[in-house]
C-alpha cells in the first residue's frame, strides 16, 4: 500500500469512530428516552438533560477531538500543510 492509501485507511477509520460516537449520542440513546428519564444527572431527568445539554456538549468535545486526531494522522504520513497556519 502506498503512503497515500495508508493515510486514507486511517482517515476512514477515524471517520467511522467519530460517526459511531455521534450515532450513539444523537440517535441510539433517544430510542430509549423513556427509560433513560428514570435516571438523573445534576438532578435533571436524564433524557431531558441529554437533549438540553448532554449530547450538545459531547458533540463539541467530539469535533475538537476529531480535529486533533486527524491532524496527527496528517502529520504521521507527511500530508500536513506547511506555512499556511493562522
Amino acid at each position: 500500500m502506498s503512503n497515500k492509501e495508508r493515510h486514507w485507511e486511517k482517515t476512514k477509520g477515524l471517520m467511522m469512530i467519530t460517526l459511531a460516537i455521534w450515532f450513539i449520542f444523537s440517535i441510539v440513546i433517544f430510542m430509549f428516552g423513556e427509560s433513560l428519564n428514570n435516571g438523573s444527572f445534576l438532578g435533571y431527568p436524564l433524557a431531558y438533560y441529554m437533549c438540553a445539554q448532554g449530547s450538545i456538549v459531547i458533540f463539541v468535545v467530539l469535533i475538537f477531538w476529531f480535529a486533533n486526531r486527524q491532524e496527527k494522522i496528517d502529520e504521521e504520513f507527511g500530508f500536513a500543510e506547511r506555512g499556511e497556519d493562522e
Binding site: K4, H7, W8, T11, L14, M15, T18, L19, W22, F25, S26, I27, F30, M31, F32, G33, E34, L36, N37, S40, L42, G43, Y44, P45, A47, Y48, C51, A52, Q53, S55, I56, V57, F59, V60, L62, I63, F64, F66, A67, Q70, E71, D74, G78, F79, A80, E81, R82, E84, D85, E86
Partner: protein, 617 residues
Amino acid sequence: MAEKFINRKDFINNLPKIYGTYTGGFLVFIILMAIAEQAGMTAKTIGICFVAFTVAIYALIGWISRTVQVDAYYVAGRQVPTVFNGMATAADWMSGASFVAMAGGIYFGGYTYMAFLVGWTGGYVLVSSLMAPYLRKFGCYTVPDFIGTRYGGNLARFMAVVVLTLASFTYVTAQINATGTIASRALGIPFELGVWVGLVSILLCSMLGGMRAVTWTQVAQYIVLIIAYLIPVFWISNKNGFGFFPHFMLADEVARLNDLEATFGLVKNAAADIKAAGVPGGLKSISVPHSDVPGGGMAAWKFISLAICMMVGTASLPHILMRYFTTPSVKAARKSVAWSLFFIALLYTSAPMLATLSKISLLDPNLPTGLIGKPIAEIMQIEWVNAWVNVKQAFIADFNGDGILQLNEWFMRGDVVVLATPEVAGLPYVISGLVAAGGMAAAMSTADGLILAIANALSHDIYYKIVDPKADVRKRLLVARALLIVIGAAGAYIASMRITSILGAVAWAFDFAMSGLFFPLVLGIWWKRATRAGAVAGMIAGLGSGTAYLIYVGPKFMAQTPWLGIDHLRFGIIGASVCLVVMVVVSLMTEEPDSATQKMVDEVRVPSGKTILGKAH
C-alpha cells in the same frame, strides 16, 4: 484607506483587539442606555437607539470591507482565523427563529421539540468529518462549484444550483420577515415598511464586500446576539433565586414544573372550544409535559427522525458549508467547525433554561409573577399582560366561566417567551431593547448568508461558468451584486405580502437540502466510483421524490396520512434515501470516472498541496 487597512496582515493579527474593543463599546452603550432609562428616556426611544446603533455599526463594517477582488468577494480572501470563522458561522447559523422562537418551541413542545436542539447541533459532526475539510481543500467558491468540477458538466452544476436556491430561498423569506417584525416594533413603523428597512440593512452589510463584508459583520452580530440572549437568562435566574448558574442549577425548577403539571392537569383544548372563544391564530396553551418523555416506539421514532433530518440537512446547507471555504487552511477548516458548534452551544444550551425560567415564572403560584390560579380580573390589571393581550400575542379564554385562570385557559405566542420574559420578570426596559437588537442581529446575519449563497451560486455557477465564461472580473462582481439586490427584493416582496406561510416551515429548507445535495457531496469525496450520470440522476430523483412526498402529505396541499409518521417536516428522509439508491445504481451502471477525476479525488483527500481549483478562478 479602509481597503488598505483590511488587506494588511496586521488587520488579521489585530482582530482580537478590534472585536474586544467593539464588545467593550457595546457594553458601555448598554450601560449608557440603562442610565438614560433612569433619567427618563422612554421605552420607545431606547428601542430605536438599540436597533439603529447596532445596524449602523454593521453597515460601517460592510463599507470598510468593500472589495474589487474575486477571491475576497467570494471567500473573504481565505484568511479568516478559526475562532472568528466559528463566531461568524454561529451567527450565520442561528436565525431569527433560533433566537426568538426556539425557547418558545421548548416552552410549548417540551422534550419532543428538543429533537431540534439535538438535530441542529449534531449535524456539525457530519460537517466536520465528512465535508468541510475536503471542500476547503477543493478550493471552490460555492457548493455547486464542487459538484460541477467533481462530476463535470453543466447539468450537474445546474442541478446543484436548483437545490441550493430552493433550500436557501425557503429559509430566507422567514429571516427577512423576522427583521421586518423587529424593525417595525422597535422603530414604530408599519410591518410592510419594516421589511424593506430590514432588507436595506441586510444589503448594506453584504453588497460592497460580499463574503468578506458578511464575515466581519457576522462576527459583530454574534457578539450582540449572544450578549442579548445570555444576560436575561442569568439575570432572571439570579433575581428569582433559582441559581447563580442556571444551566447547572435548574433541576429543582424542572422537578417543580413536573409537580405543577400534575396539580393543574394538562388539558388539550378542543379545536371547537378554541374557535368559539376567539383565540387569535398562532397562540397556544401548554398541553405537553415539560421534561417527560412521551411513551411508545412511534414517539421515539418521531424524535429520532426529526433529529436525523435536521442533522443531515445541516450538513447539506450551502450557506453553512461555504463559511468553511474562507479559512486559511484545511486544518483550520476542521478546527473552525468545532469552534462554530461551541459558539452555537452557548445559545442552544441556554434556550431550555430560558423556557424553564419563563414557565416557572408564569405557573408557580408561590412566585409573585405566577398567573395560574389567580382571578382573571386581577391578571388583566398586570401591565405586561395587558400590553401583550392588546397586540394579540397573548389571550385568556375562561372556558369554565369560573373567573379563575386555569393552565389551559392561558394562551400566548411562542415568540413571547423570549420577547416578553424580561418584562414578565420585571427587568428594566433596557433589557427588552437589548433583546430586540439581538433578534435583529440573528435574523440579519442569517439572511445575509443565505442571500449571498444564492447570489454567488447564480453569478459564479450560472452566469460565469455556464453563460459567459469570458466575463472579466468587473462584470462578474457587478452581476453578483445585482443578483444580491434582486434576490433580496424578491424575498422582501414575499415577506411584505404576508404570504411567507406558503413557503412553509424553516424545517423544509433542511429537507430540500438533504434530498438533493447530501449524497452527491458525500459520495463525491468518499466514493471514487460516483459518476456524473449518477449524481445528476440522484439529485433529480432525490429532489423530485422529496418534493412529491411533501405535496402528498403537506397539510396545505393534499394532506394525506403520512407513511410511518414521516410528515411534512421530515420529507427529507424520503428524498435522501431515493437520492442515495438512484445515485449508487446509476453510477454502477455507467462507466467509472476517468483517471483525471479519480486523481482529483485522491488529491482532495490529503490536506497538503495546492487546492484543486486555483486561487482565483
